[in-house]
Structure formats: structure tokens, C-alpha cells
Symmetry: none
Subunit: 199 residues, 4 copies
């Protein structure tokens, strides 16, 4: 996982530090120490502290997009595709808690500061959901009355809130498998055409 170049080293260090302390409580010197570079070196790769956060979003979520897209490439059934998305998202969030925290907390925090909110990696990631839904609607598997733009938010919001239980660290945890199964049961029943069977 260790990145060869400084840029990546700093990104990974920043993800860890932002997750642990939050953007505003994170110090540039914390990131520098974690990345094992000097404070000043960070400014050779990033314009300022906020620029680091944006880069973390773009690169970490970019990798997430690559990953899920690759998995989706080998699927045809929109039902399976939604399952793949959910399972992948939840397992990544469970495994990579630093990334999970940054997405769940810091991404929101900074959302209002980002000028064009839709033109970023995060939107691209969530839009994968609406693309799947549209595909399902074309195949008459998902009901036409469902609005993909709203459903994608409902689906992502559900996954996001469910996975928060792991970062916040509530004791009565449930497994990735169980959570995936539950959210799919709710959503597939919810958006499926009445006569489209669940496999």
C-alpha cells in the first residue's frame, strides 16, 4: 500500500490524519510527520490545507470508482449490479475506516465550500447508482415511477448511514453481509416491478 512517490505518501497520510482528528483539528505538521516529510515539503505538492482535502476526495474516491466499475463490468443484471455496489461500498467502508470517516464527515463539511458540487468524483460515484437504476428501468426490471435522481440519493444515503455505525464505533455492530442483505432486501423489493422476481 505504501506509495512510491511523495504525492501519494502525503495523500495517504492526510487521509489517516483527517480521519483521526477531522480536517479542522488536523495540523499540517501531523500530516507531515505521518508522511515522514518536512512541513514545507507539503507545499511543493499542494497549494494549501484545503487543497489536500480535495485531493484526498478525488484520489481516494477515484480509486473507489475504478474498483466498483471493474466489478460492475462483469455483471449484466441490474439487480446484481445494485447488490455489487452495496456490498462493495459497505465492505470498503468497514475495512478502510479512515476513508469511511473522511467520506462521511469531511466530505459533507466541505461540500458547501466546493463551488461546482456536481462536477467532482463523489458525484460520479453516486451517479453509478442512478445509471444502474436507469438500466433496470430500460429492461423493465425497476419500476418506471422511480426517479433515478432521487432513488440514487436514497440508496446511497441508506448505505452511508448504515456504515456510520462502524466509524462511530457503536458496540452492537452488525456484519457487512447482514447489512448488505438488509439494505438490498428493502431496496430491491422497493423498486422492483411487482412481477420481477428476485432471481
Amino acid at each position: 500500500m505504501k506509495a512510491a512517490n511523495k504525492h501519494s505518501k502525503i495523500i495517504h497520510a492526510a487521509t489517516k490524519v483527517f480521519a483521526k482528528k477531522g480536517f479542522f483539528n488536523a495540523r499540517i505538521s501531523d500530516i507531515a510527520k505521518e508522511a515522514k516529510v518536512a512541513d514545507g515539503t507539503i507545499y511543493l505538492y499542494f497549494n494549501n490545507k484545503f487543497d489536500i482535502l480535495i485531493s484526498v476526495f478525488e484520489e481516494e474516491i477515484g480509486a473507489l470508482i475504478e474498483q466498483v466499475k471493474k466489478l460492475l463490468d462483469s455483471e449484466d443484471d441490474p439487480r446484481e449490479m445494485l447488490a455489487v455496489f452495496a456490498k462493495n461500498h459497505l465492505s470498503v467502508m468497514k475495512k478502510n475506516k479512515h476513508l469511511a470517516e473522511v467520506i462521511q464527515i469531511e466530505l459533507r463539511q466541505s461540500a458547501k465550500l466546493i463551488k461546482d458540487y456536481r462536477n467532482n468524483k463523489f458525484s460520479e460515484y453516486v451517479d453509478i447508482i442512478s445509471t444502474i437504476i436507469k438500466l433496470g428501468q430500460e429492461q423493465s426490471i425497476y419500476r418506471a415511477s422511480i426517479r433515478p435522481g432521487i432513488a440514487k440519493r436514497a440508496f446511497f444515503g441508506a448505505l452511508d448511514e448504515i456504515s456510520r455505525v462502524w466509524t462511530v464505533g457503536i458496540s452492537t455492530e452488525y456484519s457487512v453481509e447482514e447489512a448488505t442483505q438488509q439494505v438490498l432486501e428493502i431496496f430491491l423489493c422497493g423498486i422492483l416491478e411487482p412481477d420481477a422476481s428476485l432471481h
Copy 2:
């Protein structure tokens, strides 16, 4: 809207300022100016800046709980109750954007700083959903396989993410009615017993 006493005046001012600038970028002097009191006066009512934020959560969400509980008192059908919760939540979030932002962003930000995360007003609010689901399960209206603890998160997460579109200010907005209808269509189909008709 004008609060009778200073405590409330400061709470409302803080909600506004936290929503506009975020907790860390908000200045005590901003809140004081908004509340039309001196900086020092704030410390007669709150211990420190973070204490103001916690109080905002407790009091504003407390009021939200009162409101939705009163509405739910006159409903018996668990299907209607979920509809009432969704409609109320979305319309309050659409109308009171300051509160919406604080819940969506600052509440998460500070979640990790709050020791016992479940022992607070926010948890109480979300638990209303699971209570409704359990009620529906007892009446065999909602499927027994649904785990209320996970479903409540999925439902709240969906509402939360959907309502974010209004605070972030994305242009292609949809109405409260449409959003409510969509999320209910998905969730009620999703958790209803197959033979339980939608009214």
C-alpha cells in the same frame, strides 16, 4: 421568531451562524453579533463554544421530536406513521435550512467527540423510526425479516441524503411532496409484507 430570553436568542443565532459558516469557521463574535449580545454574555449561558453546539443539537432536535411525536399521536397505521415521519422531516429540512445544515454536517462532525453517542436527542429522534417499524412488525404489516435497527438507519439515511440537495443548493431541485412520495414508495414496498396492501 424572537426568543424571549437570552439563552434561546443565542441558540437560534448559533444555529444560523453554524449553518452558514460551519462550527470551526464560526466565531463567537459572529454568534454574539447575530444574537445582539456582547461576546462575554455568551459565556454566562454556555461553558464554551462546543457547549453551544451541543445545546443547539439538543434543543433544536428536541423541538423536532416534540413536533413529530405530536403528529404521530393521531396515527395508528404504521404505514401512515412512516409517511408522517418522512413528510415532516423533509418539510422541516426544506423550510429550516439552518437546522438542516447543522444536523447534516455539524452533528456528524461532532459525533465522534460526544462520548455516549446513543444517549442523546439525535438517537432519540432516529429511534422513532425503529419504534414504528417494530409496531408494524407486531401487526404483521412489516416483514419480520427486517431488522429495525438497520432499517431505521437506511430510512433516516435516505431522508437525510435526499434533503441535502436543498442545503447544498443544487439547481435541479424536486419538491418536498415528490421526494416524500418517492422515498415512501421505495421503503414501503421494500418492507411491507407481500400481501399487505398499500392502503
Copy 3:
């Protein structure tokens, strides 16, 4: 000891608080609480915080002057008078630690802030020593080569430094009697062996 009127109550409270926390760390509200009056009441009797300190000096040292002058009235021998002064000073400092601290620490602190340093009660108190020395010189009991203005400082400084041991709270304490005896032995007799020549 409890004063009948508010003015005295505040003076005594201030002496206690200044001794415990020091002038700068003492809060007006501390003094008010100790005196069992409201904060604002203090400003009916004193112009400001520093004015309280000055008043403490004047009144507490004023009482000290009264006391020692009364004791000295019944003495004729300048040797005895110096002994009375030393004994009285040390026993008051040992008994009234609040006053001791204020004299030893706060009086010095504020000395530079007092415009006319000689025209105050403290100078009046120390001048008692030089008056005794002059009396002794007139009676050819004290050597004429001794300059009363320097000797008074040496004598008072010795007593002051010796009594600091009680306020600072150093463990190996010595008694008032022993301290008095020693300082008198040094000042009245000198520390040289009678037969040891000076060079």
C-alpha cells in the same frame, strides 16, 4: 475580628484572597464572595481593584503600627525597643499569614506603582526602626557610625526574609522565639567572636 461594616469586611476578605491567590490572580468576585457582598457593592467602597490593595496596606499596616507603638510606649531602653519590634513583627507574621504574604509579596509588587513611596504607612512602620536607632545613638548605646536609614532597612529586611520561611511553608521551620533571639543576637552583638579581630 469580624468587622461590623462592609468596608472592613471587604478589606479583610481582600487580605485573605490576595494572600491566597496573589493580587493579579485574585478576582473581584472572589473577594465579593469571601466578603459575602455582591461584586458591584465593592465599587461603592473602592474605586478599583488596585485601590483595594492600597487600602489593605494602609489599614492592615496601620493597625500594625498602632499595635507596636503601644508596646514601645512602655519601653525606654533602645535595646529592649528593638527586641520588642522584632518579637512583635515576627509573631504577627507567624500568626497572621494572610497579612504576612500581602506584605512580603504584594507590597513589593505594587511598590513601583505607588507614586510617592515614602509617604505611606509601610514607610511609617519601617521608620519606627530608625527612630529607635537614633534614640539609641543619642544615648550612646548604638554606635554613631551606624546610619539609621541603612540600618533600618537591614534590620527590617532580615526580619522580612526570616519570616518568609513561614509563608512559603518550608518544612524545617524554626520558632518565633528562636528567630527573634537569633536576629537580635546578630544585630545587637554582631556575629564575630569577641576576641576575633577584624583583619
Copy 4:
């Protein structure tokens, strides 16, 4: 006088500022300006404001100890040694008024805040006096009845109080030589006429 490194520059600047305004009235920015560094730079060398004060004591008094110990090395006679100590102390206090004020005022102020009062440079300095007295007692030059622990305080207190006249700035000043001679005359010979009996 210009210090080579920043640490010393700040120490000297702080000594000057503390002397002029007192510890509590001194501002970090005053010290920074005097030392010609930025405010923040001070915190690269010291933990906090109080830490600066303690360092001033330790370093300035440390230098004083070095100086007087070197002078005492070339003396054998305990009488001369006490004379050397007195003369050195008074002339340093007269010349270095900033140091004098800090010792006379701030050292006392903070004495109660220092945990182990005896384990510091100041005690080391005053203990030089008792060491000399013990030496004189071993040589039967000083009376055995004198308790060095009390006498050191009496001697230092006398010097301290005498030298205050220069920092407080009383007009009728006396010279270092005269003050030294007087305090030595008192301490070495006593103030009684040789033929005046004690009672």
C-alpha cells in the same frame, strides 16, 4: 550585550520587560518586540509565559552564582568572604537594575507557584551565605550560637532590602560602598557600642 542565539535574546528581553512592567503586566508581544522576534518564535523556545519567568530566574541567577563563586575562590578568610558576597551582590543589583527588580519582586511573587522552593538556583545562591558562616564557625571566627540557616536569611534579607532603594528609585540614595560597609559593620561587629552591656 547582544546575545548570539534566540534563546538568550529572549531571556534578556524578558528580564528587561518583566523588570519594567512586572510579570503580569508584561505582554508576550512586549518581550517579542524587545527581543526583535515574532510572537510565535518565543513559543519555539519556551512552553509558556511562566516558563520564561522561571528560565530568567535560573539563567540570570545561575550567572550570578558563577560570578560570586569565582570571586570567593580566591578568598580564605570567612570575614572577607562575607564582604565579597555583600559587595558583589550590592554592586550587581545597583548596576543591573532589571535583574534586581526581577529578583526582588517577581521571584517572590512566583515563589509560591514553584513546587520545591529549595531546589532551585535562588536557594543555591542564598546557601552560599550559610556555607561561609559554617566555615567561619569551624574556624571559631563566627560564634557557634549563630544558626547559619537563620543568619543566611537575615544577611540576604538585609542586602535585599537595602538594594531595593535603587530599584524603587528613592531620591536620597547611598553608594554601593557605603551600603556594603554599613551592612558589614552591622553584621560583623554588631551595632552595640563595645562597652554597652546587654542589660
